[in-house]
Amino acid sequence: MSGEVSAEILTTHLLDLASKGKRLDGRGIDEYRPIRIEPGFAANADGSAFVHLGDTKVLCGVKLELGKPFPDTPNAGVLTTNAELIPLSSPAFEPGPPTTTAIETSRVVDRAIRAAETIDLTQLCVTPGEKSWVCYVDVHVLDHSGNLIDAALLAAVAALAHATLPRKRFGVAETDLPLDVVHFPIECTFVRLGDALLVDPTFDEEKAAQGRITVATDETGRIVAMQKGLVGAFSPEDIKEVVERAFKHGDRMRALARGERP
């Protein structure tokens, strides 16, 4: 939101607030913005979820199609995650090929889903070596008000948790089957402002940040992915601290992602 001229002033102000344990929107250092999940938002998808994380809005749609397994994994289906940072969502995004930010967001989300073994890919095999389900997880960012990674993974996991294998549509079986989600990864992102490590940064906090770190945890107590981003550094103590905080927030957010089938 802030113009480039005022960015410097805003950064100074955010740093000053953080040093007093405060934030511009009145939240505590370790407090998420309100989260709301609307499962089944896109009816033409096989699973979907609209996530509101404060003013950040992302929509994830899951589509399942029949395809061929990869030659090196004949007994497994295929899972593809893609995040589109479309120009609708921010004045900073322009049309054209994906920026490095978009690619990073996409890959960090994909990594958590894969590493956590969110979906048992052998479940997606229909005929070994010949036919398997291809699961496309497409994340659409609609309003970029900060912390896209956490919002995108939350939407992806919620969409998968509410997805259906469209077996009837593809003539594989007489009935559809709920997609079985085995693990529930959640990513928690923190930014450094001075000595403070702020969870769930807003757009302005990300701009002012002196380093960003994302920790993905699952419900079994595993850390399944991490990513340090932006210019800045974290000490091993910082890392240990954010991991603990990521587990605490993760448990709460997992319950939201699981929700109830609509």
Partner: protein
């Protein structure tokens, strides 16, 4: 959009003149418009039209990218109409295909016809339309969303731009086709109208119609646009008469 496996042609019109969803020939699907759901955009709107869900955002007037498109005496209007991969039955490859590019062009030209572009020389007014759930008539739903978003962004315009598709189904001219009618119907005619003058700034047609049918279709489209126009005005009034700034999508 074709679906997997063969499908029979459904009954599109009953003998007593009811359509597949029970509507009469001259009835619109339910339309719900929310003005200003997005925070980052200068203006935005969300439209639910039947089973369509479309989000639009407007940025600008702002610097022109790419620079060489800049015009010295007026603003340019750029539009990007895009469908989400999961918005249709069979997953669409992400990104703009030729259809989306054509739609983007005709929508941009429609808006260029109504905004006071000469007020903002050397700038760009960027219109983004994202189809999240598609069920025929997405370009009209997108155009309506974008028009409300332009108003929400405070861009001076001659008028709002309501749009609707008219078509021919089972030999009858009907208003606002839904998916089955679009797939199995005989003609589709999307249009956008400037309510003040009654002139059309977007018009496309595919299929076959006689001269009489076309004339009837145009009259029906004008009537449809007038109804859509009311919905657009309601959405903007709702947005600007409440004290609560951030309406929700």
């Amino acid at each position: 959009m074709g679906s997997v496996g063969a499908k029979e042609v459904p009954v599109l019109m009953t003998p007593d003149g009811r359509r597949i969803d029970g509507r009469r020939w001259d009835e619109l699907r339910p339309i719900h418009i929310v003005a200003g759901p997005l925070r980052q955009a200068d203006g935005s709107a969300f439209v639910e039209w039947g089973a369509n869900k479309v989000m639009a955002a407007v940025y600008g007037p702002r610097e022109v990218h790419p620079r060489h498109l800049q015009e010295n005496h007026r603003a340019i209007v750029q539009c990007r109409y895009n469908m989400a991969a999961f918005s249709v039955d069979e997953r669409k490859r992400p990104g703009l295909d030729r259809r989306s590019q054509e739609i983007s062009k005709v929508i941009a030209e429609a808006f260029d016809s109504v905004v006071f572009a000469e007020e903002f020389p050397r700038t760009s007014i960027d219109v983004y339309i994202e189809v999240l759930q598609a069920n025929a008539g997405t370009r009209c739903a997108g155009l309506v969303a974008a028009s409300v978003a332009l108003a929400d962004a405070g861009i001076p315009m001659v008028d709002l731009l309501p749009a609707v598709a008219v078509g021919k189904v089972a030999g009858e001219v009907v208003l606002d086709l839904k998916k089955e009618e679009d797939n199995f119907g005989e003609a589709d005619l999307p249009m956008a109208m400037v309510p003040q003058s009654g002139r059309l700034v977007l018009l496309q047609m595919e299929g076959h119609m006689t001269r009489e049918e076309l004339s009837k279709a145009l009259d029906l489209g004008v009537k449809g646009c007038r109804e859509v126009h009311e919905k657009m005005k309601e959405a903007l009034r709702a947005r600007y008469t409440t004290t609560d700034a951030g309406a929700d999508a």
